[in-house]
Symmetry: C2
Subunit: 638 residues, 2 copies
């Protein structure tokens, strides 16, 4: 957008309210996210490569290239996509300045993938060879188009971070995309993929290549969905979002990753094709979903059975599914809406989801992951086997790898590209959506070049100092998001004048001089948060939040206690910061040992025993200290 | 037990606290259960036969007999068992006096089943033929032993209701059982079935045939379980109860039907082999399960994903699984413990489960069924297709048939044999466990012949009049259960003297004269029931019960309302009976339309608007008036 080099960001719409800024325009120089990006680069990428090799998921491509794949293939039907997400993560990391070693590892994997591509462009190790099911024979579950989608996204990442690189990935992707268009075009198979992903990927591939055929194919896939072309399964066609056309649906439903990926693709298409009705539909779906089907963490999907959204208000904290990848899908969807619409509430959800879902999945060392992100853990778990993939999504502790290992690679590509979700620009100036220590610089079409440095200890410190680093005689606008949780107490200080601001956007448009400073001050004191009365599962409970962080009570913080379920919070005393940790005042309930758990009299009240100040843990950091029990929603005393 | 004719009851232990009474000793002559037995006989049995034929599940046996079954087989791997449960239901119904037409239908199905048996006794239409997987090649999921178990139970029912009948079923069963013993005996395959059922069936078959080889085989199967012989699956080996030996487990866990069937078999074995340690173990499991893992309806299993028990206290009312068959399994387990131990709490759970799970499954007309029995339905559903099997267990309304159609046949055999769960005897006299209008007569070993007639409008009327119909100069004891819910206000009247009694058993031992009467009066006024504080999902809610019946609020009873979720109960006013219906006082909450469901302030209190008296429905009767929303647990106002 700034001339010949593409913006190094995963989403580059040709129109919309804001233009994304990429790795060249934004730098994250420290703080919460810089640390996670560093762990991602130094530990997670290598960890992923190790497991991909060890499980044979990259080797599948070698065997395919050698013609030996018949029965020797390993992994589930979507394992190719993990290799592509790994490529995408490496591409972003290389774009962030990854070392030369990473570049050669990237090229080596690309070579192995490319070698397996068939002459007509088809590329999938699971189908079409002797001893395998035919190509496209299982659109419900085969994930062939889904895998191509991830290949395209990897190629887009590469094309935007190393334009013109001679590794061949873009060409591999183009041939795979062409094969999809030929196979599933208007004159081809009248089908669609059981797992959306190809839609958003094809649009982005069109944006990268300038070839609108991919956009048209994406639009065709979106239009085909919702008419029952996929089989009716035990979970219902809703699982695939194939029971109602996307433009007629009113809320996200079915499999939560599928739902968000589809919605992201629908925004892309609506924006490119100026399809206002489609944009309206998915915007309404987003609003309903956020209002009624989203956990306080930002997590989505309450059902284990089908990894799906529950009905409105069905948000049980125990065994909350809240799949890591659904959180990532939600970020993808909300980010596209933010670029299209500009509503800061999209960025609110992104912030909440990044801090409380995406950053919860990886362990502190970046080598194990939550697949699901429950809000209540009742029983001490056991360490997953470090030496084999976990069969179970709902591990009590993070696992190094999974039979279905979508989450580690998805986290890796998200963290490696996180810089591109921080700030945007429009013709008037810059918008800061997420607060990280770092710099933002952008050259507007008319030559103005706003540049700022952000200094902050956010999210633990609510002060965000934005120093102007550029001089221009023409005015430009600096916009900053005031999060929805900052209901009371946020202020902005410019020119020594402080004024209160409420949730939304605060914009200062003026002729800025280098060294001038804007300070946004957000009220990050810990606070109680109450659920809507319709969220039955947490009636009579409170959560504790601190800025965008959700906190939790974890048993390892309470001496002599295995279960956190017998502590009741005294809401008469607000949570407070004690030596850098948030504490709440709790009273124990002395539970009765009973034959039957339903009685003629109400349950006993908490004891009059001396209440304790109990420290909480940031939710994203729980389960890093061995087996524990945990709850986000704490019952209230009295 | 009373000479040559066997007692016509499904469970006849050779020892234990009580002896069961069967169809010859007990008659149900009217009331709640007589009506259900009548619907079962006149509607459900024919409905089942229709669907078994239509889905080809009986025809599978014909094809097998003709050698044509290779690829023509229809139905899931356990469909044979539905045919056997249908046979068992018919056998009990014939024993209750079913018409001649039923006898010939029974014989016709037996002939078709028998024709498919292989020369060595193996009988299963899913395995072992050309084009099929080999016998016993999928112990985890193949259900071959499970199917044999149901065949044995059908044969036992027949042998006890028509001893010596020449239909050949007992011989078919014996050959199948012998094949199992030969195949899985100490020198055979060291395996066990993924779905327990063969264990309890083999014990009963040993009791019927007098051949202890079947008992030994059952004990072997129980001992083999719990050592990880079955594969580790995504749900864990706990799903199959194969992660801990049954004698070391402390609570039921995993798949709720499997868990209860296994526990029932373990009681049988413990009783027959005088294995006190095993009996202690399963008794403790029962107590823990009832105390912490059972819904107020008696339903068990809170997880859809694996049809399994949740952890302790995890009893969400919305999407409660509470599978009908798990309720039946729980009745089987508790009944065996009652016979062994005599503790009236077993009969309490049986009563609760019969009224609120087993009788909830069938529609009023006996032609559609709930597979799962949720305690909270949030959204209006749609009528299931009347013309094809439901793919989904969690239908919003009862469905006529299912792809996995275990529940209709299980309900049918349970209702047809229900008479045998009413009363027992010991050397001292009679014990009444369930209160139905009818008669109980039994000849004790020493020649005394206690006989009573029970007259009652229970459960709606709490008076149970027991009239003595026999004269004997020797005393005998009449015991009556006072249910656990009758905490206050129960009385017994004998000889014109009334005295208060509490939960447990009231026993009157005396020389009884014909025409004397004992009146047990139970406090069936509707009442509020509060959950234990650890059942997080229903904090701040009450249920309403009336005697053993759980009540529910159903939207069709509230004018102009689709959702029942915005009504809050005023617990200051006890529920009352108005024109024969229980009502509670409710206040509406005016819910806010919000962007985000978590707030800095507590949810609004119910409005000060005039409260309404809202009628409740008996839970078992809900969803008989078209699509509706429903809740058992009602939030309380204030």
């Amino acid at each position: 957008m700034t001339g010949t080099a593409p913006t190094a960001a995963p989403v580059l719409p040709n129109r919309g309210r804001f233009r994304p800024l990429g790795l060249a325009e934004v730098r994250i120089t420290g703080g919460f996210w810089a640390e996670r990006q560093s762990v991602n680069a130094t530990a997670t990428l290598g960890h992923i490569e190790h497991w991909l090799e060890r499980e044979g998921w990259i080797r599948n491509f070698d065997l395919a290239a050698r013609g030996d794949l018949g029965h020797g293939r390993r992994g589930r039907e979507f394992s190719d996509s993990e290799v592509y997400k790994f490529l995408e993560a490496m591409a972003w990391e290389i774009g962030r300045g990854g070392d030369a070693g990473l570049e050669s590892r990237f090229r080596a994997v690309v070579r192995r993938v490319a070698a397996a591509q068939e002459p007509d462009g088809y590329l999938n190790t699971k189908f079409g060879r002797r001893g395998q099911e035919p190509r496209w024979s299982d659109l419900e579950w085969g994930h062939e188009l889904y895998c191509v989608g991830h290949l395209l996204q990897a190629a887009v990442a590469r094309a935007r971070t190393r334009p013109g690189a001679d590794d061949g990935l873009l060409e591999v992707a183009r041939r795979a995309a062409d094969n999809v268009c030929e196979t599933f075009g208007p004159a081809g198979i009248d089908g669609l993929c059981g797992h959306p992903e190809i839609e958003t990927a094809l649009v982005e591939f069109a944006r990268t290549t300038g070839d609108d055929r991919y956009l048209a194919q994406a639009a065709l896939f979106v239009d085909r969905r919702g008419h029952g072309r996929l089989s009716d399964i035990e979970f219902g066609r809703e699982y695939f979002q194939d029971e109602i056309p996307v433009r007629r649906a009113t809320v996200l439903r079915g499999h939560a990753v599928r739902a968000n990926y589809l919605a992201a693709g629908a925004v892309d298409i609506a924006v490119e094709l100026k399809d206002a009705a489609l944009l309206d539909a998915v915007r309404d779906q987003w609003r309903s979903t956020v209002a009624r089907r989203t956990y306080v963490t930002g997590g989505q999907g309450s059902r284990h059975q089908d990894e799906a959204f529950g009905g409105d208000w069905v948000l049980p904290p125990d065994r909350a599914y809240s799949e890591t990848c659904a959180g990532i899908g939600s970020v993808m969807f909300a980010w596209r809406l933010l670029l299209a619409d500009g509503d800061p509430r999209y960025a609110d959800l992104i912030e909440r989801t990044l801090f409380n879902v995406v950053s919860t999945s990886p362990s502190a060392d970046g080598r194990s992951f939550f697949y699901t992100n429950t809000l209540h853990r009742r029983e001490l778990g056991t360490e997953p086997d470090a030496d084999r993939p976990s069969l179970r999504a709902a591990a009590s502790l993070r696992a190094p790898w999974f039979e279905v290992s979508c989450c580690p690679t998805n986290v890796a590509r998200t963290l490696a590209s996180l810089t591109s979700y921080v700030a945007t620009a429009d013709d008037e100036g810059l918008q800061l959506h997420q607060y990280v220590p770092g710099t933002v610089a952008y050259r507007l079409a008319d030559g103005r070049e706003p540049r700022v440095t952000v200094a902050t200890g956010y999210p633990h410190d609510g002060r965000i100092r934005v120093r102007i680093d550029s001089d221009d005689d023409r005015p430009w606008a600096l916009s900053m998001r005031v999060p929805g949780w900052a209901v009371r107490g946020a202020t902005v200080t410019v020119d020594g004048r402080t004024r209160p601001v409420g949730p939304g956007v605060v914009t200062e448009r003026r002729v800025w001089r280098r060294g001038e400073e804007v300070v946004l001050s957000l009220p990050v004191a810990p606070r109680f948060t109450y659920p809507d009365a319709r969220v039955d599962a947490v009636r009579g409970c409170v959560a504790v939040e601190q800025g965008p962080l959700v906190l939790a009570l974890e048993s390892v913080d309470v001496a002599g206690v295995d279960t956190v379920d017998d502590l009741y919070v005294d809401t008469g005393h607000p949570p407070r910061l004690v030596d850098g940790r948030v504490t709440v005042r709790c009273r124990p309930v002395h539970q009765r040992d009973l034959d039957w758990p339903y009685h003629a009299d109400p349950a006993p009240a908490p004891a009059d025993a001396e209440p304790d100040e109990v420290p909480l843990v940031e939710y994203h950091a729980w389960a890093n200290r061995g087996p524990s029990t945990m709850r986000v929603w704490l019952p209230t005393a009295g």
